[in-house]
């Protein structure tokens, strides 16, 4: 049987609903967001690494620094900072789990609340700092 025939058979088999009916819970939602932010961060760090290679090899030319003057890039940067904060804070929760703490349901809920609130606050702080730096020191150079 070729691969195409196998795929056709797989599409026809009966499957009971799983993701569409299961109630999303704290543990599962935070876990899948940990995975999402992790993948987003991996690709972002690839881009950042190559951007830094470009910056250094053109001898710190200032036009490469002008990143966040358009809206899409600003949204992308806020997304990057949120992913970084969320993944780091949830990662701390994972490390606690590896040591054997925070396993009760109440503890999971409380630590999840702390993670999401600190992530949002920190994202606001770092984004305003970053965009103020960009505005004061970089946009004037490019213009």
């Amino acid at each position: 049987m070729s691969i195409k025939q196998k795929i056709e058979l797989y599409k026809k088999r009966p499957v009971s609903p799983h993701l569409t009916i299961y109630k999303p819970q704290t543990s599962s939602t935070f876990s899948i967001f940990h995975r999402f932010t992790g993948t987003a961060l991996y690709f972002s760090f690839l881009v950042i690494a190559w951007w830094l290679v470009a910056l250094i090899s053109t001898n710190f030319e200032e036009s490469i620094l002008n990143l966040s003057s358009c809206l899409i890039m600003r949204i992308a940067f806020v997304g990057l900072f949120f992913s970084l904060n969320y993944h780091c804070l949830n990662g701390i929760r994972h490390l606690f789990w590896d040591l054997g703490y925070l396993f009760e349901i109440k503890q999971i809920d409380y630590s999840a609340y702390v993670v999401i609130s600190v992530a949002i606050i920190l994202t606001g702080v770092i984004s305003t700092a970053f965009f103020t730096i960009m505005k004061e020191y970089v946009w004037n150079i490019a213009l």
Binding site: I48, W50, L52, C88, L122, T132, I133, Y137
Partner: protein
């Protein structure tokens, strides 16, 4: 029947080799995670230092140790990300051919980026 080898006959027929160990992957994920936590806090505080002081006053951050920290940070983050993406590829891609090719491409891209980035960081030191 008695088998003198640790591999079942099916594994020998598939001839793909031993699975080695998974605990190294788990341990490296945790160790790189701890290093990345420290370095993330370091770089966020650098951004806040530039924000609270003017750019000239904060030119103090242009120090060889900060450049080394940037090099270690991006390289460790890429390695940690490679370990995580490996798990994702193994989880979600079922076709064996696509699985293997994606894993090889992932490791190739990550290792190339780490090498080029390390070269750029090292070349920074000649500018001091």
């Amino acid at each position: 029947m008695e088998y003198s080898s640790l591999k079942t006959p099916l594994k020998k027929a598939k001839n793909l080799g031993s699975a080695k160990s998974g605990s190294h992957h788990w341990l490296m994920q945790r160790m790189t995670a701890v290093i990345l936590l420290v370095l993330t806090i370091w770089f966020m505080s650098l951004i806040l230092i530039i924000y609270t002081q003017s750019l000239e006053a904060s030119a103090i951050i242009l120090h060889p140790l900060n450049i080394l920290a940037l090099g270690i940070y991006i390289n460790t983050a890429l390695y940690h990300g490679m370990l995580g993406m490996q798990v994702i590829i193994e989880d979600y891609i079922h076709c064996k051919k696509a699985n293997l090719i994606s894993l090889i491409l992932l490791k190739l891209v990550t290792i190339l980026t780490i090498m080029f980035f390390s070269g750029a960081i090292i070349s920074c030191y000649s500018k001091f």
